[in-house]
């Protein structure tokens, strides 16, 4: 046994205070926030609400109709009606409007930045309401911009409502029949193994963090990350092989058999009727 290993306290290998690696810390933060979204994503799925009580496929189709209704809404009145519908739907499903707004906020901010030129006279000429540094914000520009932002907001709101009230398994079940079963399984497995590989990446980052004392430079951290990506890629291939064998072992021959969805109830038909009516109205108004 080496002599240094027998010493009660290992001699310090060098000078320098403990310093964490920003790159590794950031990687860990990103992984954990992704995991949080995955595991807490459908936090309202277990509640007793309107959307939760619908057959998953009906929920998906209905929300899809509403997203389209929002996209087709050409007038402020029809858009307001769709927004009102979204709020009522959220409340009946036990989702707080503030929570929904929080989910929608990134889409609103992103859209506002992207379309910001629309507010100004050089893109939308009209009567100026505000002038600064030789540029003017026009009334017409404001109307167009707010309309676009509201439309994106309500579309994102419906999508968020679906994701908040639908567990991952229900979401996949709902998609069955709408797209071939083999795609659903591929989608689920992609998601499933992304999680496994993310955990591997997280463990690697934690292992490095636990052995990092005085920190390393960014280039070293990035080099280390590149080797980990290679390792994870290799692991992905071997995992995929094993999964295929596990599926074959249980009778998979390339054609995926799955359950039929549950029988539709009156509430399901009403929801589809209402949402398709909203879509027709929105397209016509």
């Amino acid at each position: 046994m080496p002599v240094w290993l027998k010493e009660a306290k290992a001699r310090r290998g060098g000078e320098g205070a403990f310093k964490s690696e920003a790159f590794v810390e950031k990687t860990l933060d990103n992984i954990s926030s992704f995991m949080k979204v995955v595991f807490d994503g459908a936090e309202y799925a277990g509640k007793n609400g309107l959307l939760q009580s619908l057959e998953p496929k009906v929920r998906i189709i209905g929300i899809f109709f509403l997203v389209f209704a929002a996209a087709l809404a050409g007038k402020a009145l029809s858009l307001l009606a769709v927004i009102f519908f979204a709020i009522v739907l959220a409340l009946l499903s036990g989702v707080e409007v503030l929570k929904l707004l929080k989910r929608v906020m990134p889409a609103l901010i992103f859209t506002s930045i992207i379309i910001s030129p629309v507010f100004f006279s050089f893109v939308t000429p009209g009567s100026a309401v505000l002038k600064a540094w030789g540029m003017a914000v026009t009334k017409e520009g404001l109307e167009t911009g707010v309309f676009i932002i509201a439309r994106v907001g309500v579309m994102a709101g419906f999508t968020a409502l679906l994701l908040l009230t639908t567990g991952q398994s229900d979401l996949l079940k709902g998609m069955r029949g709408l797209v071939p079963a083999v795609f659903i399984t591929a989608l689920f497995m992609t998601f499933r193994y992304t999680l496994i590989l993310l955990r591997t990446a997280e463990d690697s980052a934690l292992a490095r963090k636990s052995r990092t004392i005085t920190g390393t430079n960014l280039r070293d951290s990035q080099g280390w990350f590149a080797t980990r990506v290679g390792f994870i890629l290799k692991k992905t291939v071997s995992t995929a092989d094993e999964v295929t064998l596990a599926m074959v072992s249980r009778g998979f021959t390339g054609r995926m058999n799955s359950f039929e969805g549950r029988r539709l109830h009156g509430k399901d038909f009403m929801f589809i009727g209402l949402t398709s009516f909203a879509l027709i109205l929105s397209a016509g108004l």
């Binding site: 595991f39 596990a246 074959v248 072992s249 249980r250 009778g251 998979f252 995926m256 058999n257």
Partner: protein, 275 residues
Amino acid sequence: MTPGARLKDEIYRLEGVSFFYGSSPAVKNMSFRVERGERIAIIGANGSGKSTLLKILDCLIPPSAGIISFLGERLAGDDLKGGLGRRFRESVSFVFAEPDVQLFSPTVFDELAFGPLQLGLSGDEVKTRVEELLDFLGISGLKDRPPYALSSGEKKKVAIASVLAVNPDVLLLDEPTNGLDPRSQVWLYELIEGLKNLKTFIIATHDLSMVEDLAERAIVLDEGHGMAADGPSREILRNKDLLLRANIIHEHAHRHGGVIHIHSHGPFSTHDEHE
């Protein structure tokens, strides 16, 4: 009996089966038979070829050389299709060592339903079967949970349940006690004991206490990937030289005062030698 003749209750017959990964051997020249209702432990050191042998027995990888027969019909690798394919997949199930590769469905319920659905059972029949199995195994509480969110012990239970749902005659278990807490180990032992004489078990394991308790016969793989022994478990477990040679247990010497002890160590230790 004439060599090569099929026994009345013979399930598997392997004659000179070998498997190579490229030029590296993983399984070398294995010959043995398996009869209905037997409980066989395949024991060997890490990398001795236990998992590969199970994959060959489940017809997931074809042997590079040799013959393997199932119920008198020769299995020829990729030709496992049609009637034989269906009969084989209905009869033989494999629990992988790593449950994460085996659990690929959105919920535990779907996981258990996967096998029966692939075999063409009706939806109602599958639902009844899965509900009964969940209840029998005491895991009904996990029914709607996604498998990735389970603990490792729960994952193992679900993996075992997922193959039992097919109601196979032969169960191939690869390191079934890995990652199981003591309570889950007892659960597994009781399950295997409860299915005694109803199912044929071939279990690859390091856990020699499991061999002693649950397998009447043991096949020992040596580090050269060949078969070192095949016989009654009790006799195999008493053969310390064989277990040492196959690197399943190891010996360790230490001193207590003036006495030097030599112990064999491993999952199944024998503290019988003092010098």
